[in-house]
Amino acid sequence: MSKANKNILRSLLLLSYVVIIALVIYGFGALYSYLNTGADRSKMLHTEVKQVDQYLPELEWAPLTNEGRVIDEQTLTAIENDYLDAWYVKYVALKTNTKKGLDDYYTDNAVENIYSIISINSENKTTLEATTLEHHPNLEFFSEDGQLAVLTDHDVIEFKRIFNGETLITEVTEKSSYKVTLLLEDGFWRIRHLVKIKSEPYVVENPKEPIKISDIKGINYYPQANPWDMFGDAFDADVIASDFELIKNSGLNSIRVFVPYESFGKSNVDKDKLQQLTTLLELAETANLKVMVTLFDFYGDYSVLDWTLTQRHAKTIVNALKNHSALSSWDIKNEPNLDFESRGEALVTAWLDKMVDFVKSQDPNHPITVGWSNSESSTILKEKLDFVSFHYYEDLDQLAETYKTLKTQITDKPIVISEFGMSSYSGFWNPFGNSEDSQTDYHKTIQSIFSQNDISFMSWTLYDFTEIPKEVVGRLPWRQNAQKHFGFINKDGAKKGAFEYISKQ
């Protein structure tokens, strides 16, 4: 036997030994964890069911005029929670074609109806991604012994994406009304009867007259010390106030700020951060600046069952700011078209579509846009938006042409370039990058294009930064370093050449 063969044999032996040991350890581990599961006394009474917000469609009870017993608030809340959970578990079931959890929220007779739908769907390989966005229940009846409730849920807005296998075959939005009979069984309000009494396709009319915006000469704003992280402990009103003064004195009239979805608490918005955002608007008002608020920064889920949570987030923020005079407009999301590849264009667009409607319903008085990352995407949803905005980091030679082309496609609405800029980084990671001089030229040129074509603009950004979070451009140092040098003011606080052209040519 040759030496090589011997070595192969040895290594195989060694490898098989490692594999066997791994399997044995895994086996013991599995046995151990199996023996640690099972009947847990604390779980018997459902006391440990954790209250996590997972489904928060808009729900508004009609004034209570029910027959039977007068209902107390606690019971009404219990009915509301279980009723919404019933919708949620149903949609989870129809998404996965599994039956898990359904029997907690539907009685034995009622749940059979869903089971049979699941079996039809799994046979046909149909799956549904669906959610309800609005409920308007009216309590018709509450029985004297407190065990039975009947309600009519008016105008339930249901959105469904229907798949055959992996293929999306259609999207449906319906407005339906249901008669619901609920029974209190072992602590759960379970659906006993559910009858759809009315249903029609649901379409939100696009606004006939878009809300006007005034000319924007603006800048995307983050403080120098804590970019992408301006709210929370690092929030410094004094710094922001002096930055706003500087922006105002440089001849600009607007800023664009970002509300990060997760760090603002998702569906349960952090009150302190919201207060800071309000403070920011007040500071802007003092400096006579208008604020474009960009919602849902760093949001990337889009899954249909998550929509109600994003609605709740938007509702809290929009309602807190909508009466503020410094507010100029809502940008629903920054560069959502970058998520098309990973989440699917149809899904992202559907979410934007519904979110635009929702923000409009909460605040009909401020214009709404979406900050597309390029001009090609910016015709998406153009009928819905009050004005169109896109970001331009391409070659300046093409800008006038691009803008004019876009103008022919979007004739009736203003178009804003809500981000543009040039990094003045050239160094180890990009020896052929741009100098501060070329940045100055860039801004000089682009300002002349703006004034020739009468374009509203918001530049990127006031400061050079020293730290860029990895979520923004990733970890690659050449990207990080480029992102650090887009400012009009360098990291030592000195104005760069481009500052002269921050607001004019």
């Binding site: 027959e67 039977g68 149903k90 129809l94 007779n109 009622a110 109806n113 869903i114 049979s116 739908i117 699941i118 039809i120 769907n121 046909n124 149909t126 549904l128 669906a130 018709e140 009846f141 029985s143 004297e144 012994d145 407190g146 065990q147 039975l148 009947v150 009519t152 469904k160 229907i162 055959n164 075959i169 259609t170 449906v172 319906e174 339906s176 249901y178 008669k179 009979t181 029974l183 006993r192 009867h193 559910l194 009858v195 759809k196 009494i197 009315k198 249903s199 396709p201």
Partner: protein
């Protein structure tokens, strides 16, 4: 070389033409609904038919009260046929559908009515017991359903019947939102109401509700005893009369009555009992010395009784005390009761021992065969002068100068 170009040209022409052909196939579909019926009864066979030209690659989305499905067509004779599965068509309510093709957006809905015949009457009755008096009530909720578990259409008539004592009533109610309900009020008598319902000639089973008496009204008490001597041995029994509510119903068995006894020194004792057939009974050991009890009973928070006064006569008039030679064994008795009989065992005798005016020790003995005996150990009570106080049956005897060697 030339051949190669030709080859490429032919290939690309071929490719282009197939794409064009495919596209033509895609845009070519037109569809029209042929079925005209838009109202069905649950359980009917529902079939939607469409005439079409072109593409048969279509689906039918349809959604009933409980969920949504997607169906594939049967194609024949330029017709598309979709049969709605039985499990969808058997549920009442709106069934909306949408034909999914590349181009047209055909949509519509059919209304499925519940069957006209009844299969079950779902009944929910509660609370299961109510109070007499005509203000409290129980509620019967009925949901008449067909054999496919659909609630019948609104305005279905339901007769709700109930019987109580000699009354028998029936009243008609109409379903609304799928159900009907009726409040059934109690009358002045306690007892049991039997309830049933009927709809479309189907009768429910029998349900019953207990009408429990209302809260008790004030009542009287009395006491029974074998004799009125305070012998500390016999018991006095307290009894209420029959406690009733204000409609003359005997209160529920188990109504808890507490008797409060105040003696002549103002000390309170209590004893209690629960009613059976309206009468509560409680007992208490008679005192061992002359006393006067005043007794009053309460059903807490609801009713109370009159106050009765009981006098207890002294049973043990006097007793003898004998000391042993060393005075360390003290024999009390024989203790004699009212007929000079020896007192029953267990009469309490108390000895208190004082030295220099301070209480040294206190010990209690029970009488046995009329005698109680104390022994004072020399280890515990060494040489000296003690004061001994003996108490039994309310009588106190004091020996001030007892000298131990």
């Amino acid at each position: 070389m030339r051949l190669k170009y030709l080859y490429i040209t032919i290939l690309s022409v071929l490719l282009l033409s197939t794409t064009v052909a495919l596209q033509a196939n895609k845009v070519g579909g037109t569809y029209e609904l042929l079925s005209t019926q838009n109202s069905y009864t649950a359980g009917d066979v529902i079939e939607l038919q469409f005439s079409f030209t072109g593409n048969t690659d279509v689906y039918l989305y349809c959604s009933n009260s409980y969920g949504s499905v997607v169906l594939n067509p049967d194609v024949n004779n330029s017709k598309l046929r979709f049969s709605i599965p039985q499990s969808i068509s058997k549920k009442s309510g709106v069934l909306n559908w949408q034909l999914i093709s590349d181009k047209t957006e055909l949509k519509g809905q059919v209304n499925i009515l519940p069957k006209a015949s009844i299969k079950t009457i779902e009944s929910y009755l509660g609370p299961p017991s109510i109070e007499a008096g005509g203000t409290d009530f129980t509620m019967l909720v009925v949901i008449p359903t067909d054999d496919l578990d659909n609630p019948l259409i609104d305005s279905t008539i339901v007769a709700i019947k109930h019987q109580f004592l000699s009354n028998q009533e029936a009243s008609d109610v109409y379903t609304e939102h799928g159900f009907a309900y009726k409040n059934i009020y109690s009358e002045n008598k306690s007892g049991r109401i039997l309830i049933s319902s009927e709809s479309l000639n189907l009768n429910s089973k029998e349900y019953d509700v207990n009408v429990v008496p209302a809260i008790p009204t004030n009542f009287e008490i009395n006491a029974e005893r074998i004799h009125d001597y305070a012998d500390g041995n016999q018991i006095t029994t307290f009894k209420t009369n029959i406690i009733k509510d204000r409609y003359d119903n005997i209160v529920s068995d188990g109504t808890y009555v507490t008797f409060f006894i105040t003696n002549k020194d103002g000390y309170k004792s209590k004893t209690s009992g629960a009613t059976i057939n309206g009468i509560a009974t409680a007992i208490l050991l008679q005192p061992d010395h002359e006393d006067q009890w005043s007794v009053k009973a309460y059903v807490e928070g609801m009713a109370n009784s009159n106050t009765i006064v009981l006098n207890y006569k002294q049973a043990v008039e006097d007793f003898e005390v004998a000391f042993s030679e060393d005075k360390r064994t003290i024999i009390i008795g024989p203790l004699k009761s009212f007929m000079n009989q020896r007192v029953p065992d267990g009469l309490r005798v108390q000895l208190s021992i004082y030295k220099n005016g301070f209480l040294e020790n206190e010990s209690i003995e029970s009488s046995f065969n009329g005698i109680a005996k104390f022994h004072l150990s020399p280890d515990r009570f060494p040489k000296g002068t003690y004061k001994l106080v003996l108490k039994a049956a309310g009588i106190t005897k004091t020996y001030t100068e007892v000298r131990y060697e």
